[in-house]
Amino acid sequence: MPGPEALADFLRDVRGGVEAGLDPLLAAQQAAETLPKQLRDAVEMVALRLRGEYHEDEWGFDEQFAEAVFPLFEFLYEFWWRVETEGATYVPAHGRALLVANHAGSLFPFDATMMTMALMKEHPLPRWPRFLVLDWAFVLPFLSTFMRRVGGVPASPHNAQRLLEANQVVMVFPEGVKGTGKPFSERYRLQRFGRGGFVEVALRTGAPIVPVAVVGSEEIYPKLGESRALARATGAPFVPITPTFPWLGLLGLVPLPSRWRIEFCEPISLAEHPPEAAEDRRLVFDISEQVRETIQEKLYENLVRRGSVFL
């Protein structure tokens, strides 16, 4: 940390710059040159952000913002859930790919963020993946803005197709609400994979499918029951009751520290099928079932390898 003198010098320089007729933020940026490097970068970034000088892509993804919240999720990844990742290199380093995973964590599914962390930390050539999110989350204040800035996109085949055509890595959770809303007693039992829409998109864009098994997400908010009245009042698809929520209020939102394992499996290449194969219902169901079985198998395997749930 710089001493008080460095800070005083800095403030004096800012004032000098402003008096010389500079924009105050620009003046701060220039004055920061005398500060130690780390602080200098921070000042410069804040100044640039306040002036609106940062990049957003057409989806509203803001890489600087995503990097800024990275440490929080890094803490969850490293210390809270002690995630072990396998097979991150199966995700192609270039070009499009569709990551298909099981979905769990009734109150707030963290699986997409943890998969993002796994890729960013374990992949030799990391890049930010995008994830499809339940529509309902996108009408909520704060959550919708946050999700969008870190790479979330409303679940719609149009969006998925466009992202893949732009050669992005896209994460989907075909179980959807059926996956997150299942009771604790049915944990790690895969639900129906929608109508296979993800296979259609993959066939149309020629993207390989990477099945992903996530173990640990089921125990973070064990769903014991649900409140129909609350769901009706808020318009939510369901409102879970967990051992801590809503009994402990905001404290009930703290997820339980289960141990996690994430396994990326070998990609399923669909290159042999032409884009028109997306119309072939039989093929779509077959591929969908193949992906589902792979994930289910890997889930059981990783459950055994994880051993104790919390320790």
């Binding site: 105050p24 057409e58 959550l143 803005t145 969008r148």
Partner: protein, 342 residues
């Protein structure tokens, strides 16, 4: 199919900003022998060789006037996106829907006609939280039509699509414009963005595509000269979030819980002369809307000069000197304090 470019053009709604801009551009082109302008009131700025015809679009007299001009191209700029002085909200439905119907009826009587271009609105897609992030033209009416204006636009598009189907020999082009910005514009959204403190909706940060005014006129002109059929989105590439736009414009945001946003804006707007937002303005500033401009670029052959961020940047630069009210952005305040201490 029409051969060559347009020669005799009639612009309805020529007294509107966009009608007058288009007329001015077409006047300069010697290959266009006649430019006619129809509106119910004279243009506010002087036009050159444009032949001004005073007529109300809603009246049947149009069916007599239009064939007499022997026009080969009709550009409909008479669709109002928001109420204006002398044109209150209830009149908008009449002007937009009935006016378009009368115009199409008059077009059927005009034997020399080759193409009809309508300056419509991307409001037909609505503003929803969870949607395709970049609408293509075929995705209209997927969402419920929530506001009166949206229903009007949808209705007149339907009439226009039917008209185009009945007359395959004509080129019918429906342009769906995203909201425009420019220092010379006097629209509710521009007035909103130039408020000294801009109220926003707490927790929401909509993705917007604000179209540069020059690109808006350019796209209209390109569509008039081209022969593209069907709906075409007119929007810049990319998108910009409201928070970033306000930072570029050096306008501090005042977040208000979203149920209070509409009434607050109305009250604040009346006091500052900005006026309320009309139609889906409130929803636009909550959820935003993005459309795909591939058809405009590849088929009409017009690439907007500014992308979404560029348009806001240019607007910020050019409206800097026009600031009437003092700015309260932290940056400018510090500047002032430093100046006072000298």
């Amino acid at each position: 199919m029409p051969e060559g470019g347009p020669r005799r053009v009639v612009i309805t709604g020529v007294s509107s900003h966009w009608g007058a801009e288009l007329a001015r551009r077409l006047e300069r082109d010697p290959s266009i022998e006649y430019v006619g302008g129809i509106d119910s009131r004279p243009p506010s700025t002087e036009l050159g060789r444009t032949d001004f015809i005073e007529a109300d679009l809603r009246s049947a007299v149009l069916s007599r006037l239009l064939p007499a001009t022997r026009a080969d191209t009709v550009v409909h700029c008479g669709i109002l996106l928001y109420p204006e002085p002398g044109r209150p909200p209830p009149a908008l439905h009449e002007i937009n829907v009935i006016g378009t119907l009368q115009l199409l009826a008059a077009c059927e009587r005009t034997e020399t006609l080759e193409r009809v271009v309508v300056r419509g609105s991307a409001a037909i897609y609505g503003c929803e939280g969870a949607v395709p992030y970049l609408y293509t033209e075929d995705l209209a009416r997927r969402m419920p039509l929530r506001t009166r204006f949206q229903r009007d636009i949808s209705e007149l598009e339907e009439y226009f699509a039917n008209f185009a189907r009945r007359h395959p020999e004509l080129v019918g082009c429906m342009l769906r414009f995203q909201p425009e910005i420019g220092p010379g514009l006097d629209s509710p959204l521009v007035r909103y963005l130039t408020l000294p403190v801009v109220p926003t909706q707490l927790g929401f940060d909509p993705r917007l595509q604000l179209l540069h005014a020059d690109d808006a006129t350019g796209a209209l002109e390109a569509a008039t000269r081209g022969s593209v059929r069907g709906a075409v989105n007119v929007a810049p590439s990319g998108s910009i979030s409201l928070s970033k736009a306000l930072r570029l414009l050096r306008r501090p945001a005042a977040p208000i819980p979203h149920p209070l946003f509409g009434p607050a804006l109305e009250r604040l707007g009346r006091r500052l002369g900005a006026g309320a937002l009309y139609g889906d303005g409130v929803r636009l500033l909550r959820y935003g809307r993005g459309v795909d401009n591939r058809r405009l670029r590849e088929e009409v052959g017009f690439t907007p000069r500014f992308d979404a961020t560029g348009a806001v940047r240019d607007f910020a630069e050019r409206s800097e000197s026009r600031r009437v009210l003092p700015s309260v952005h932290p940056g400018t305040i510090a500047e002032r304090l430093a100046g006072a201490g000298r």
